[in-house]
């Protein structure tokens, strides 16, 4: 079912083979680590110690690592934190971005130019780490979840992409509603947004992924480990290999209980960090080119 044009000669066998191998390798490079991590997280103690590291060949499967992680304690708590921050943050960011993108999508409107200029100018010069920190701390946001949400709540790039998309919607569509007396809010909700589902989904994903992955802001602004989001936990217990269960109140493991292998637990944390992205991604992915490129192109 190739749709190669009539004038193109059929690819040579060797050429096609080489291309196939290269593409398979590329795809494998992405998928293989994920496969091994997932498999290890699902393996029993014996399988893991037999493999002496990551498990490549499926042995006996076990959900013990996940049961351990979600029995309350550090990881459970951090997942809740990350989920909460992601949901609240994405809702705020998307709302603010959609509103502003629409508000700025009518050139000629009052103050349209200076406001757009103010937004575009943020591309050029960042305030720097220290002034940001001082601001967040003087607003009293240190050790609050707002410190993960508010400083990056609006991304100028996302706003510009969205605005460009809205500008591509023919004015006549909304004008007819305007003549019927619809308010701008109404037009945005009933006409513009339904026509922009793809780009909204993509920008929403960008924001959500940003919040889910937020790591550095948490390191900067959260001193209280009880508030750590998942990425910080991932760094502590997996990357730096600190012990997950020692000295953690509220997570006392019964001595002598058959613990799931620690590597399996570590990999289970990795999978938990990975999962939402893997889960949401396929639904949004098909909009990438359409939503973003077309948006960015007109920016």
């Amino acid at each position: 079912m190739t749709i190669s044009p009539a004038w193109a000669e059929r690819p040579s066998r060797a050429g096609g083979l080489v291309k196939g191998i290269v593409l398979t390798l590329i795809v494998a490079c992405v998928l293989f680590p994920i496969y091994m991590v997932v498999l290890t997280s699902l393996s029993t103690q014996e399988t893991v110690s037999e493999a002496g590291g990551l498990v490549t060949v499926p042995g006996e499967l076990s959900f013990a690592a996940y049961a351990e992680l979600f029995s309350g304690g550090v990881v459970t708590r951090s997942v809740m934190v990350s989920l909460g921050v992601t949901l609240v943050g994405t809702a705020i960011s998307l709302t603010v971005t959609v509103l502003a993108a629409y508000g700025l999508s009518r050139p000629g409107s009052l103050l349209h130019k200076p406001m757009l200029f103010l937004i575009l100018l943020t591309f050029l010069f960042g305030p720097g780490l220290i002034p940001n920190y001082l601001l967040v701390s003087s607003l009293g946001l240190i050790d609050t979840y707002w410190s993960l949400i508010l400083p990056g709540a609006v991304t100028a790039f996302n706003l510009v992409v969205m605005r460009a998309f809205f500008m591509n919607i023919p004015e006549e569509v909304s004008d007819s509603a305007r003549i019927d007396g619809a308010s701008e809010f109404h037009i945005l909700r009933k006409i513009v947004l339904p026509m922009s589902k793809g780009v909204t989904a993509v920008i929403g994903l960008f924001y959500a992924v940003g919040y889910w992955n937020s790591f550095f802001n948490a390191v900067l602004y959260l001193n209280d480990n009880a508030k750590w989001p998942l990425q910080v936990v991932l760094r502590q217990y997996v990357l730096q290999g600190r012990s997950l269960f020692s000295g953690q109140t509220g997570n006392v493991t019964v001595v002598g209980q058959a613990l799931p292998p620690s590597l399996a637990i570590q990999m289970a944390i990795v999978v938990v960090a990975l999962l939402p992205v893997l889960f949401v991604y396929p639904f949004v992915q098909r909009h990438f080119t359409k939503g973003v490129i077309i948006g960015a192109v007109k920016g």
């Binding site: 190669s4 044009p5 004038w7 000669e9 291309k19 590329i26 795809v27 490079c29 992405v30 998928l31 680590p33 091994m36 991590v37 590291g53 990551l54 709302t95 603010v96 509103l99 502003a100 508000g103 009518r106 050139p107 000629g108 409107s109 009052l110 103010l118 937004i119 591309f123 050029l124 010069f125 960042g126 305030p127 720097g128 780490l129 220290i130 002034p131 601001l135 709540a153 609006v154 100028a156 790039f157 706003l159 500008m167 004015e171 701008e184 992924v209 992955n213 900067l220 990425q231 991932l234 997996v238 990357l239 992205v277 893997l278 973003v292 490129i293 960015a296 192109v297 007109k298 920016g299």
Partner: protein, 335 residues
């Protein structure tokens, strides 16, 4: 930063206009003239909609921008901006004499250079390869896979690399099983450049293809047909049609990348600084972090951040000028 390249994607022949105001003006009835009260009555809803975003940007971007004054002070959080003593440029003088600052600068620049040579061409090659996959379903599938790592956090990426190439990682393990000595790529300062570039490629090369795929899709298919009829081989078509078609995008992204030379990213280096050591992994961003938040030398850190920001600004402006010289749009329009 990614807004620019596009201009010429829509109008490869330079026909279409991307100046939205001009284009809009032709078909919109919204006038930018008229008495203020009337315009306010007409546009207050739009203004109201834009306010939250502007508010957030002012508070979290423009206000901290002013906070940079502490670079000229001997700032103490207990005294505040207003009462901290002014010290002129002495923080900057110290900075210029600080060897570790120059080490961080050198590291940043060598990482930028290395990535420019070894990372930059990868998305282009990958895009050409992906573009040659003609079965739509297969192509969408592969694209979906290669875009994906872009959405993983740096912690995750570094963790995965550690599991593959670390001392207890898969590769080392396999080598040991076969009688070779294991190694630890994750803690070796000498190969750090290779490591971070490999990580960047794994994470972002796929995502980087999007812009090139769009450019490839904009190339007139008739050119290929005509060339094929004239007897041009696949490689000649690649050389004489595909690459020239990509040229504007390549040049533009290259220029923009140069404008971002001091921004190599924070988290990737922050995460690996302990493992490979300061000498290899300290970049300007991590320098500011470690020098300030751990020692409380706020003013010094702010000075370092300000220098980086200013040099970055100059680089962007210069890059944009160059982009305009090449007839491209740059990140902002020439007005």
């Amino acid at each position: 930063m990614n807004t620019g390249p596009a201009g010429d994607l829509t109008s490869p022949a330079g026909t279409g206009t991307t100046k939205d105001d001009g284009k809009r003006g032709a078909r919109t009835s919204r006038s930018s003239r008229g008495p203020l009260p009337a315009r306010l009555r007409r546009d207050w809803q739009l203004l109201l909609m834009t306010l939250p975003a502007i508010g957030l940007l002012v508070v979290f971007h423009y206000v901290p921008l002013l906070g940079n004054v502490i670079a000229f002070q001997d700032y103490s959080p207990y005294v505040g901006f207003v009462d901290s003593a002014w010290v002129g440029l002495s923080n900057f003088q110290w900075l210029m004499l600080d060897e570790s600052f120059w080490d961080a600068t050198l590291n940043t620049l060598s990482i930028t250079t290395f990535q420019l040579v070894f990372y930059f061409p990868v998305p282009i090659m990958l895009a050409v390869l992906l573009d040659s996959v003609v079965r739509p379903r297969l192509r969408l599938f592969i694209q979906g896979i290669v875009y994906m790592p872009h959405f993983f956090s740096w912690v995750l990426v570094v963790t995965l690399f550690q599991q593959m190439f670390g001392g207890a990682g898969l590769l080392s393990q396999t080598l040991r099983d076969h009688g070779y000595s294991g190694f630890d790529l994750m803690t070796n300062p000498d190969t750090f450049l290779v490591l971070v570039t490999a990580e960047t490629i794994w994470k972002d090369a796929g995502w980087g293809t999007i812009i090139f795929l769009a450019a490839l899709a904009a190339i007139n298919q008739n050119l290929y047909e005509a060339a094929a009829v004239d007897g041009a081989s696949r490689w000649r078509r690649l050389w004489h049609i595909t690459l020239p078609g990509l040229r504007p995008v390549i040049i533009l992204l290259l220029i923009l990348r140069l404008g971002e030379a001091l921004n190599v990213g924070f988290e990737q280096f922050f995460l690996q600084r302990d493992a490979v050591g300061r000498d290899a992994a300290e970049v300007l961003d991590t320098f500011v972090y470690w020098r300030t938040l751990l020692t409380g030398e706020w003013s010094y850190g702010a000075a370092a951040g300000l220098v980086k920001g200013l040099v970055g600004l100059i680089l962007i402006l210069v890059a944009n000028k160059v982009a305009h010289r090449f007839g491209e749009q740059g990140i902002y329009k020439r007005s």
